[in-house]
C-alpha cells in the first residue's frame, strides 16, 4: 500500500515552548493508525498542523498528501481535501437537529436556500452508515454522548472524508458505546477510509490499530507494526526520560493521618445516571505530599472539587475526616473552616479575580483575617500581602499590581498565598504547575515542600507523571472515577502507574 499521508520533520514553536520537534508520521491508505503519547507530548498539536488549524507557514517541515505537497491555509481548506478531524470536545450545536448539524457549514442548498427534503434524505442515509436509527430531526441535546460521537462521524462522511482523525473519541464514552465506535472504525476501513486514532486506551489500540506511532516530548519515538504492539513496549516508549535534579531535595517528616476520605461517590451534575467518582477512599498524613495520578478525564478534579464544598457533582456521599473526626465540607465556607484548601487547575477562570490587585486576591478567601467586625483594615491587608510577596517570592513591583499583569508562575504564587492565608492543614493542589515555565515550576515545588515541612498535608493532582514521582511520598492512581492502585515512593515508576491505568 502507498502512503496516503507523509509528515516529515514537522516542528512547531510556541513562545517559550517547542511543542513539536521534527516529528515524522507516515499513514498508509486504508489503515487505522494510532498515535500514542503522554498528555502534552504534542499529539493534538500535530493533528492541528495536519488539519489546518495552524496554517501552512506557521510550522516547519513538509506534508505530502496523496503524493502531492499539502499547504493548508485553513480548516475548510483541509476539509475539501477530505481530511477531517473530530475533536475531543464535540463540535455539535446542541439545540439544532441531527440533520442540521450534519450539514452545518456544508448545507444542501441552492442560492442560499436550504433544500430540506434532500438534507433529511441524505442524513438518513448517513446515519444508517454509522448505525444510528434516530430520526434526522431529533435535537442533538436529546441523544447521548455516544450517539453524538456517531453524528460527528456522519458529519465527516457528509464531507466525503478520506482521512478521518479522531482525538480521544472514547474518552467520554461508556464501554459499549466505545465498542460500537471502534466497530464503526473497522467498518469504515473496509470502505477505504483511512483513520488516525489518538487514544490513551491501549486495549482499544491493540484491537483496531494496524500501526502505532508513539510521540514523546514533541518528537517521534517509534512506529510499531501490529505484530510489534505490546503494552510493555508502548509504555516504555511513552515514558522514560531523565528525571535527575528537577526536584528540590526534601527529607520527609511524616506524622499521623491528617485527612481521611472514605467511600466517596459523586454523580455527574447533569447526566444523572453517570457516576463520576466510585467509592474512593484515601488519606493524607501530616507533612506528607500525596499524589493522584491519572489521565485526563480520570475524575481527579471532580474528586477534589466535590470534596471541597460540593463544588462539583450531585448526590455526593461519603465521609471526610480531619484528625479522625468527621467534618462537614458541604459548602466552601465549611470546607475552609475544616481547614481544607483547594487550588484549582484553572487559575484564571476559577482561582483569581484578574482585574483586581494582588493584595485583594490574597485576602479574598479570608477577609475576616484583615477585618474587624466587617470593616476592612487596609493597612493590615497590605502588610499581609507584602509578607506573602516576600515569602513566596512573587515578582512584582508592588502588591497593588493587577494580577492579570503577572506571569503564570507568579499568578500561581498569588493563588497559593491566598490559600495559605486561610491557614489550611490540607492543601489540594490541582495541576499546580500547569502552564508555567520550568524555573517557576521548580519554585512551586520548593513551596510545596515547605508546606509539607510546616506540617501541612499536601495532595497533588498532576497529569505529568515525572513530577508526581519527583515530588510525592505516596501516589494514588485513578482511572475512570475509581482508585486503581496506591504506590509508595520506592515502588512507584511511570511504567507501574501506566500499567495500573491501562490494566482496566
Amino acid at each position: 500500500m502507498a502512503a496516503l499521508l507523509e509528515m516529515r520533520g514537522i516542528s512547531k514553536v510556541f513562545p517559550g515552548v517547542r511543542a513539536l520537534d521534527h516529528v515524522n508520521l507516515s499513514v498508509e491508505a486504508g489503515e487505522i493508525h494510532a498515535i500514542c503519547g503522554e498528555n502534552g507530548a504534542g499529539k493534538s498539536t500535530l493533528m492541528k498542523v495536519l488539519s489546518g488549524v495552524y496554517p501552512h507557514g506557521t510550522y516547519e517541515g513538509d506534508i505530502f498528501y496523496d503524493g502531492a505537497p499539502l499547504a493548508n491555509r485553513s480548516i475548510s481548506d483541509s476539509e475539501t481535501k477530505g481530511i477531517i478531524i473530530i475533536h475531543q470536545e464535540l463540535a455539535l450545536v446542541p439545540l439544532l437537529s441531527i440533520a442540521e448539524n450534519v450539514f452545518l457549514g456544508n448545507e444542501v442548498s441552492s442560492g442560499g436556500v436550504i433544500n430540506w427534503p434532500e438534507t433529511f434524505n441524505r442524513t438518513e442515509a448517513l446515519l444508517k452508515k454509522v448505525g444510528l436509527s434516530e430520526p434526522p430531526g431529533t435535537l442533538v441535546e436529546k441523544i447521548g454522548v455516544g450517539k453524538q460521537q456517531l453524528v460527528e462521524i456522519a458529519k465527516a462522511l457528509a464531507k466525503n472524508v478520506r482521512l478521518l482523525i479522531l482525538d480521544e473519541p472514547t474518552a467520554a464514552l461508556q464501554e459499549n458505546d466505545s465498542q460500537k465506535l471502534l466497530d464503526l472504525l473497522l467498518e469504515l476501513k473496509t470502505q477505504g477510509i483511512t483513520s488516525i486514532l489518538i487514544s490513551h486506551k491501549l486495549n482499544e489500540i491493540s484491537r483496531v490499530a494496524d500501526r502505532i506511532t508513539i510521540i514523546r516530548d514533541g518528537s517521534t519515538v517509534s512506529t510499531l507494526t501490529r505484530e510489534e504492539i505490546s503494552e510493555d513496549r508502548i509504555i516504555r516508549d511513552m515514558v522514560g526520560r531523565d528525571m535527575a535534579h528537577r526536584y528540590p531535595e526534601r527529607t520527609p517528616a511524616i506524622g499521623d493521618v491528617l485527612m481521611e476520605v472514605k467511600n466517596w461517590n459523586v454523580w455527574h451534575p447533569e447526566q444523572h445516571t453517570r457516576q463520576m467518582i466510585r467509592d474512593v477512599s484515601f488519606n493524607v498524613r501530616k507533612g506528607e505530599i500525596v499524589g493522584i495520578a491519572g489521565l485526563m478525564g480520570a475524575g481527579r478534579t471532580e474528586l477534589a472539587m466535590s470534596i471541597f464544598g460540593g463544588s462539583y457533582g450531585r448526590n455526593i456521599t461519603g465521609e471526610v475526616r480531619m484528625h479522625g473526626k468527621p467534618v462537614d465540607t458541604s459548602t466552601v465556607t465549611r470546607a475552609i473552616d475544616a481547614r481544607i484548601a483547594y487550588v484549582t487547575e484553572d487559575r484564571k477562570a476559577l482561582g483569581l479575580v484578574l482585574e483586581e490587585p494582588i493584595l485583594r486576591n490574597i485576602s479574598l478567601a479570608n477577609l475576616a483575617g484583615v477585618a474587624l467586625r466587617g470593616v476592612l483594615n487596609k493597612a493590615q491587608e497590605a502588610t499581609v500581602a507584602e509578607g506573602y510577596r516576600k515569602a513566596m517570592a512573587i515578582r512584582t513591583p508592588s502588591v497593588h499590581q493587577k494580577v492579570v499583569n503577572l506571569s503564570g508562575g507568579n499568578q500561581q504564587k498569588v493563588v497559593l498565598s491566598k490559600w495559605l492565608f486561610t491557614d489550611p492543614e490540607v492543601l489540594i493542589l490541582d495541576e499546580p504547575t500547569r502552564g508555567i515555565d520550568v524555573g517557576a515550576k521548580f519554585e512551586i515545588y520548593g513551596l510545596m515542600n515547605r508546606m509539607a515541612d510546616e506540617g501541612r498535608g499536601v495532595v497533588m493532582i498532576s497529569s505529568e507523571m515525572p513530577e508526581l514521582l519527583g515530588m510525592c511520598d505516596r501516589i494514588y492512581v485513578m482511572n475512570e472515577g475509581a482508585f486503581v492502585g496506591e504506590l509508595a515512593r520506592e515502588e512507584a515508576s511511570q511504567e507501574r502507574i501506566m500499567a495500573l491505568i491501562v490494566s482496566k
Binding site: A335, L350, L364, A382, K418
Partner: protein, 400 residues
Amino acid sequence: MAVVSKEENANAKPSLDYLKENFRDYGMLMALIAIVVFFLVVVRQQLDVDFLSAQNITNLFLQNSYVIIMALGMLLVIVAGHIDLSVGSVAAFVGAISGVMSVNMGLPVYVVVPAGLVCGAIIGAAQGYWIAYWRIPSFIVTLAGMLVFRGLTLWLLGGQNIGPFSRGFQSLSTGFIPDLFAVDRPNMTAMVVVVLSAALVVWLGWRARKRDAAYGIQQEPSAIFYIRNAIIAAALVFVGWKLASFRGLPNVLIVMAVLTVLYAFFTEQTTPGRRIYAIGGNLKAAKLSGINTEKLVFLTFVNMGVLAALAGMIVTARLNSATPKAGVGFELDVIAAVFIGGASMSGGVGKIVGVIVGAFIMGVMNNGMSILGIGIDYQQVIKGLVLLAAVIFDVYNKSK
C-alpha cells in the same frame, strides 16, 4: 530558591505620570468641571443669568437627588455583574403607594415612609430571589419587573394623579434644614455644616494618606493630593455659601450626602462590599473562595429596591402628586450615570465617587440645556452621545 525581588518606589513617580496613569479617575472630574464652566459662560452670554446662582444650585440638587440615590444602589448591582431595569417603575409604584397611604388614608409621614421602604425591600427581594437563586438573567427579571410595576402603578392610581400631599410628606423633597442660629440669611447652619464637612473631608483624606505612607501603600503624589483637596474644599464651601444665601440646606441634600458617605464606606471598607466586587470580577473564583454569592446578589437587589422606593417617594413629594407617569425613563438616567462614572458592563469595577460625578454630569447637562431652552429632542441626542463618549473613553484608556 532564587529570590529576585525588584523594588520600585511608586511614590517617586512624577505627578504627571501619575495623572496619566489614573486619567480615568480624574478625567471625568475634569469633564464635570469643564461642563459647569461651559454652562456658566454660555448661560451668562446668552441669557445674562448666573448658572451657579443660589437658586439654580438648589435646583440642581433637588432635580438630581433621585438619580444619585438610585445610582448608589445601581452601582452595587452593576458591580455584581447585573443590571436593574425596573427601578423607574418601582419608584413610581412606591410613589403611588405612598400617595394612597398619605392622601387617601391620611396616614402620617413617619408611617408612610418606612412602609414605602419596606415595600421597596419586598419588591427587590422578589426580583433578587429569581436572579440570585434561580440564575434567571437580571435583564429579563427586571425587564419583567419594569412592566409589572408600571402596570401596578396604573392600576393602583386608576390612571389618576393623587395629591396634594401633607406638608410633612412634601418636606421630604422641598424641605430645608431650619437655621439653628436664627440669623436669617446667610443661613449660618448651612455654612457651619458645610465648612465642617469640608474640613472633615480634608482631614480624613490626610489621615488616610498618612496611614498609607506608614504602610508603604502606593498613593498619589502630594502635589495632586493638595490640589485635589483644595478644589473639593473650595467647591464645598462655595456651594454651601450659595445655599446659605438662599434657603439653606435642602433635606434631600443631607439624605444624599449621608447615603453617599455610607455607600462609599460600604464599598471600600467592608467585607461584604469587597465581596460584591469579587463576585462581579470572577463569580466562580469568588464562590470557590467561600463567598455566599447567591445571598449577596439577593441582598444587592433588596438594597436596590429600598433605594428605588426612597427615590420614588422623594420624586412624589417634589411633584406633590403621585402620578402614573412618574419615573418613566429613570432607569436609563441611573444606569447612564453609573456607566459614565466608570463602572464596567461586565462587573467588578466602579466607584461611588465616580457614580456621583457621572450623575452630576448628566444632571448639570439636563439643567443647563433646559435653561438654554434646548429642545428635549436635542437634549436626548446630546446625552446619548455623552454616554457613548464616556464609555469609549473608558475602553480606549484600558486598551492603551
